[in-house]
């Protein structure tokens, strides 16, 4: 056991970049996947609707930790060895696709059906109708819950430490194993997560309040 040094604290604080980068990648991956899931779920093809629904149900009905473990072990049965970084990015992206897909399905469905009918009557086919009429109206409603989910996702990256990816939580564990100052170290890490997440939560609440006032 050794004493806690400034270098240790710096090591932990610098590991924030991996937490942020992983959150960003998972969010971007989740946004692409989530859009596909939301469109499939609200679309006209029955098979795609069922498939998207099944995807959402499976991801919402199993622990994220199991999803990360499987993201780590499934590629290896195809003979591909993935490192913890790839597994975490893949697992969190698939997880985020399901949750964002469900959030965005809800937002798309709040757009009155008359809008779709009007667009169809004007001769717009599926893609221009979604891109020009439905999605722009759905986005406004989608923003607060999407930011709310981003907070969930940032917190969820801490589970990547369990499959061995060195981000904020794992960095604190490593230093704690050498110095044994759990209260200080995990307290510090909690504070860092709070500083990242709290402004996002507060911002999401503020726009939500604005939207409720506007829709009265």
């Amino acid at each position: 056991m050794r004493t806690l040094s400034e270098g240790d604290i710096l090591f932990i604080l610098l590991a924030v970049r991996w937490t942020l980068l992983l959150s960003l990648i998972a969010f971007l991956g989740g946004a692409v996947g989530g859009l596909a899931v939301a469109l499939a779920r609200t679309g006209e093809i029955r098979a795609l609707r069922l498939l998207a629904r099944g995807y959402i149900t499976v991801f919402q009905g199993t622990p994220l930790l199991m999803q990360l473990f499987l993201a780590f072990f499934v590629p290896s049965i195809f003979g591909i060895n993935v490192d913890p970084w790839t597994a975490a990015a893949l697992g969190l992206s698939l997880h985020a696709s399901a949750f964002l897909g469900e959030i965005w399905r809800g937002s798309i469905e709040t757009v009155p059906h008359g809008q779709t009918e009007a667009a169809t009557a004007l001769g717009l086919r599926y893609w221009p109708r979604m891109a020009l009429v439905v999605v722009p109206q759905a986005v406004r409603i989608a923003i607060p819950p999407t930011i709310g989910f981003l907070v969930q996702l940032i917190k969820a990256t801490s589970l990547a430490s369990i499959i061995g990816f060195v981000e904020l939580t794992r960095a604190a564990q490593i230093i704690n194993n050498a110095t044994f100052r759990p209260f200080t170290l995990f307290g510090l890490v909690a504070l860092v997560y709070f500083v990242i997440c709290w402004p996002l939560s507060a911002y999401s609440r503020r726009i939500e309040r604005k939207l409720t006032l506007a829709s009265r």
Partner: protein, 223 residues
């Protein structure tokens, strides 16, 4: 694909898997029950307590909701002993889950309290009902109807989240999985089966909660 699946080596451990699933259910149910006591007290304090108490409750909610559960459980399990409070893994897991679900529960219960229309209570009073009768016949059912969906999905989230408790080796399903795969080296098969068990638990709970809602909480149809 040349991988040979060996699910037999996983099912050989079925007593441990069953015990793990049972532990997960007991842990989640206990945490939810105690967490709801925390949530009701917190919601009452937040809606009708003194200002300083409301501040404390708000700080608690914000701190819990904006930090990862894994860090919360580490602080309770590894951090508390440094101030002289040493908990077993199971006790630490239960405490962490209660502290966590309490924060989410307060907002749900508060929404339930605020959903009750004051006019309904006045109507009950003017019909000569006593406070307990008003609570039993006027307030209770609509309040439960209002919070039931949020509470039940919170319970399922809690059950899934309890898998994180394996990080401190509390006895539950994920820890059982970790234990088994360290002996038979069939990580993929073990985690796939355990994921299936979690999914089955979710589906059973979803259906049970929907059934209860159908049987007892159906809203009268409006004409």
């Amino acid at each position: 694909m040349t991988y040979e699946f060996e699910f037999g080596e996983v099912f050989a451990y079925w007593p441990e898997l069953a015990a793990g699933a049972a532990h997960t259910l007991v842990l989640s149910t206990l945490a939810m029950a105690i967490g709801m006591v925390v949530a009701v007290l917190g919601a009452l304090a937040k809606t009708s307590g003194p200002v300083w108490l409301r501040w404390i409750i708000d700080a608690y909610i914000e701190l819990i909701r904006n930090t990862p559960f894994l860090i919360q459980i580490f602080l309770i399990f590894f951090g508390l002993p440094s101030i002289g409070l040493r908990l077993s893994p199971d006790a630490a897991a239960l405490t962490a889950l209660v502290v966590n679900v309490g924060a989410y529960g307060i907002e749900i219960i508060r929404a339930g309290i605020e959903s009750i229309d004051g006019g309904q209570i006045e109507a009950g009073r003017s019909l000569g009902m006593k406070p307990l009768q008003i609570f039993r016949y006027v307030v209770l059912k609509p309040a439960i109807q209002a919070i039931y969906p949020a509470l039940t999905s919170q319970f399922i989230l809690l059950m899934l989240n309890s898998s994180v408790c394996s990080a401190i080796a509390a006895s539950e399903l994920t820890a059982a999985a970790g234990d088994i795969q360290s002996r038979n080296f069939r990580s993929f098969e073990v985690y796939l089966v355990v994921t299936g068990i979690y999914f089955a638990l979710s589906v059973v709970l979803w259906s049970a909660f929907a059934g209860i809602e159908q049987a007892f909480l159906r809203k009268p149809s409006r004409r």
